[in-house]
């Protein structure tokens, strides 16, 4: 079974600064997807960024980028030029590409990001 670990329960960053959220995972599979989701107080999970394991290039979405280290099974999220609206819970998630288990996302326990002025 796959597991996802987020070792930082809380992080804080000043507005306009850069912060990196950590995520490690355990799997025996070679093909899979990794995601970062944001969950504000409204509870709705919002997709931030997605990475296919077969792609060597790190995914980027505007101010959000990832550092994907497949051999180390590490998938960190970097938020540049942090904004007050970035404050939320951030969840790292894994999704298999095996037909039998590709339906579900496996989430970590989350990192609460605070953004200060």
């Amino acid at each position: 079974a796959q597991t996802v670990t987020q070792s930082q329960p809380e992080m804080s960053v000043q507005e306009a600064e850069t912060v990196t959220l950590s995520c490690t995972y355990d799997t025996s599979e070679s093909d899979y997807y990794l995601f970062w989701y944001k969950q504000p107080p409204s509870r709705q999970m919002i997709l931030v960024i997605r990475q296919e394991a077969y792609k060597q290039q790190n995914a980027t979405e505007n101010r959000f980028s990832v550092n994907f280290q497949k051999a180390a099974k590490s998938f960190s999220l970097k938020i540049s030029d942090s904004q007050l609206g970035d404050a939320a819970m951030y969840f790292c998630a894994y999704r298999s590409m095996s037909t039998g288990t590709a339906s579900k996302l496996t989430f970590g326990t989350g990192t609460r990001l605070q953004v200060t002025l």
Binding site: M45, L47, M97, T101, S103
Partner: protein, 114 residues
């Protein structure tokens, strides 16, 4: 277009009662997922529908939990004989075809069992 919607937003019930939670997926999405998020935890998978059928129900914790999607759109998660440990946020997500598609989440239903 409209996103995934869930009703009710909050539900308070007494131990032993029966509850139904509803999910309206994004129009045209064939795949629908239910997750449960306990306090301080990430969401945990419950069940996945492809069309009308449950393609993977391996996450349902016991036989008190049941879900249906009779017409391939709206889904209802049903919990019988609720227990205090069932208190959580129940999240629904949908995707266009399932498998590798991105899942889009609703705002969830917060269930409190007294």
């Amino acid at each position: 277009g409209a996103g995934v919607s869930q009703t009710p937003s909050n539900k308070v019930t007494e131990k032993g009662k029966y509850v139904e939670l509803r999910c309206d997926p994004i129009s045209g999405h064939t795949a629908l997922y239910w997750y449960r998020q306990s306090l301080g935890q990430g969401p945990e998978f419950l069940i996945y529908f492809q069309g009308t059928g449950a393609a993977d129900d391996s996450g349902l914790p016991n036989d008190r939990f049941f879900a249906v999607r009779p017409e391939g759109s709206v889904s209802t998660l049903k919990i019988q004989r609720t227990e205090r440990g069932d208190s959580a946020v129940y999240l629904c997500a949908s995707s266009l075809y399932g498998f590798t598609d991105t899942q889009y989440f609703g705002p969830g239903t917060r269930l409190t069992v007294l």
